[in-house]
């Protein structure tokens, strides 16, 4: 079974339609926003829905996403701690 970071990478690519990016190209600690993958505020909202749908985690404030979506590793750690499914 894929590790959570690997699973996340696949889901991020799918959810955000990053068609020209491979799982191997995303480093576990690469920043997802800004200089890294170059995601924007709409992607952040998409990832919030991903958290809710796949892991049962509901964020109230979009600002919380900024910290959680720093990198795949940070995201995985947050999910491990808070997941309800």
């Amino acid at each position: 079974m894929a590790t959570l970071p690997e699973e996340l990478k696949t889901k991020i690519i799918e959810q955000l339609h990053l068609e020209d990016i491979e799982v191997a190209e995303i480093g576990d600690d690469d920043p997802l926003f800004g200089d890294g993958l170059g995601l924007d505020s709409i992607d952040a909202l998409e990832l919030i829905v991903l958290l809710e749908k796949e892991y049962g985690i509901k964020l109230k404030d979009p600002k919380e996403g900024k910290l959680i979506f720093e990198s795949v590793n940070v995201m995985a750690a947050y999910i491990e701690k808070n997941r309800s499914k």
């Binding site: 924007d40 505020s41 709409i42 909202l45 919030i48 829905v49 404030d61 979009p62």
Partner: protein
Amino acid sequence: MNTGVAITGMGILSPIGNTVAENLQALQNAQSSIATIEMIQTRHKEAIKVGEIKKTNQELATTLGLSDTHRFSRTAMLGAIAAKEALQEANITDIDRYKTGFISGTSVGGMDTTEQYYLRFKEEPNYRRFIQAQHAGFTTQTIAHHLGINGYVSTISTACSSAANAIMLGARMIRAGQLDRVVVGGTDALSKFTINGFNSLMILSDEVCTPFDHHRKGLNLGEAAAYLVLESDAMLQKTEKKVLGTVVGWANANDAFHQTASSANGEGAYLAMEQALAIAKLEPNAIDYINAHGTATPNNDLSEGRAMLRIFGQDSVPMFSSTKAYTGHTLAAAGAVEAVYSLLSLREQLIFPNLHFSTPMEEFSLIPQQTIQHRALQTVLSNSFGFGGNCSTLIFTN
């Protein structure tokens, strides 16, 4: 100053009143409509507050005298009622006698009917008359037909600046002599579609919205329709009618920054205000009051505030307020709703308060008017901004 285009009628149906007179009364009494949603079943009921017109579709159809097999969406019915009030005030009964156009803004068109029947069209032939009703243009045409306008009919859909752009186009067409008179404005009914759309953007407030407040949490959606009647000078000479006000400035610019968010320095808003002043041939200090877009989203109010500071100068921003806390954000209708409120401000010499403001924003020292003010008002500027970077400004004078 530009001599502008005369406004001879206005009509409005909003969460705070079914007529212009009722809207004025609510504005004067600081009566907000924002509350828990009642007319639409939604799982977000407890998480949002909205401005609703408390009339069922059946009641609206009865008001208009529609048959049981009518093809009006709620958006079309709201529009037809408001447009009729505007024509009545302009004392127009012979609609075919002069070249009369209809320009309406809408964002969702008949989505309110589509979402009700979409899954049932196949089984229920009776509902199929609403298949075309989903189109924004069909909504406009339905209203135009009801009013008896058959020539120039068009719909503008630039999200939340739609009605402002409709007023702008009408003024330009009158000035160019393309039409003798034109009914301009916008209509949008609340729908599950828009509620869920704005909810997915996480910009809906679970409380009554607080424009320009430091602690603002987002916007409240509303529904409304409002229209103005614009007439050429030649028509005015023929008919000697009362002029409610004049639209003297208009502009539309694009922020070209992001699909939904406004730029941090309010570039599009700045350009729209700057160009509207240029069309009006007015200096910024001629503006007595601004009816701001002021949706109460963190992004809009900051961007709009910065644009106002850039146009008017650090210490010279005119008195301003947002009326969104009365009606909610009525989307494509907002520009027309606020045009009616701007004209009421001019007629009554009143500045309507920005409800629920308590804490100034950290980024600047702008403070909206919080109580009703009697002032000598000559010129009012109204802003409307929308997704897609669309920014529009209108300027009205007495």
